[in-house]
């Protein structure tokens, strides 16, 4: 299990680099939908990172947190989109 643990740490570092690239897009994005796209990508990558973390430490509770995070980020994305459209709640 120790070899696979090290492989998971390497995968986590690579995924962290992807998150950093998305954060650069969130900072320099010219329009507001660009920033929303960056935040959506960060959400998906963080979910995958939580699942990998749970598999590396063999803690199932991290994966439950990932499921709840996925549903909440989906709802927040829908609300931001509704706000950008100019709709009324």
């Amino acid at each position: 299990m120790i070899e696979i643990f090290n492989v998971y740490m390497i995968v986590l570092i690579a995924i962290l680099l992807c998150v950093i690239m998305a954060i650069v897009r969130v900072i320099i994005g010219p329009t507001i939908p660009d920033r929303v796209v960056g935040v959506d990508t960060i959400n998906t990558i963080v979910i995958v990172g939580m699942v990998i973390f749970g598999a590396a430490y063999e803690m199932v509770i991290y994966i439950d947190v990932a499921i709840v995070y996925a549903l909440l980020s989906f709802i927040s994305t829908l609300f931001i989109a509704k706000y950008l459209e100019g709709g009324e709640f």
């Binding site: 696979i4 492989v7 995968v11 690579a14 995924i15 680099l17 992807c18 998150v19 950093i20 690239m21 998305a22 650069v24 897009r25 329009t31 507001i32 939908p33 660009d34 929303v36 796209v37 960056g38 959506d40 990508t41 998906t44 990558i45 979910i47 995958v48 699942v51 990998i52 749970g54 598999a55 063999e58 199932v60 994966i63 439950d64 990932a66 499921i67 996925a70 549903l71 980020s73 989906f74 994305t77 829908l78 931001i80 989109a81 509704k82 706000y83 950008l84 459209e85 100019g86």
Partner: protein, 146 residues
Amino acid sequence: MSIIEILGIASDCIIYIFLGIGVFFNALAGVGLLRFPDVYTRLHAGTKCTTFGSIFIIGSVIIIGLKMWWGHDTNGSVLAIHSAFALIAILLTNPVGAHAIARAAHKSGVMPAQAVIDELKDKSTEKITKKKTSSKTALSKDGGEQ
């Protein structure tokens, strides 16, 4: 060498290959977010590539859980099933969110940068012009009768 050892080595190879494919596609998503010129192309990169990469990474976690379950570790079954639920949540919510963002961007006035045709814009302008022409003809008819 028995069959069980061969199966263990093969499952390790499958886990490594799946992790490599997943990390490659997530890196493609980051590079596409930085390099593409437009909101819609960035959405194309940032949503599809992360969905495809997360399928493979969580698939490798599911294979690890099944392997632990095969070795009579009951923690592995919970790991595999909950990872499958997380994958289902990603697969259901990610395309819907991307569609909502694209629709909101088009409605809020952000147009594609290098697009040749824009069918949604053409449709909305057609509707507006039809309404205007129909109201004008109705007004002229009323004026003629009076």
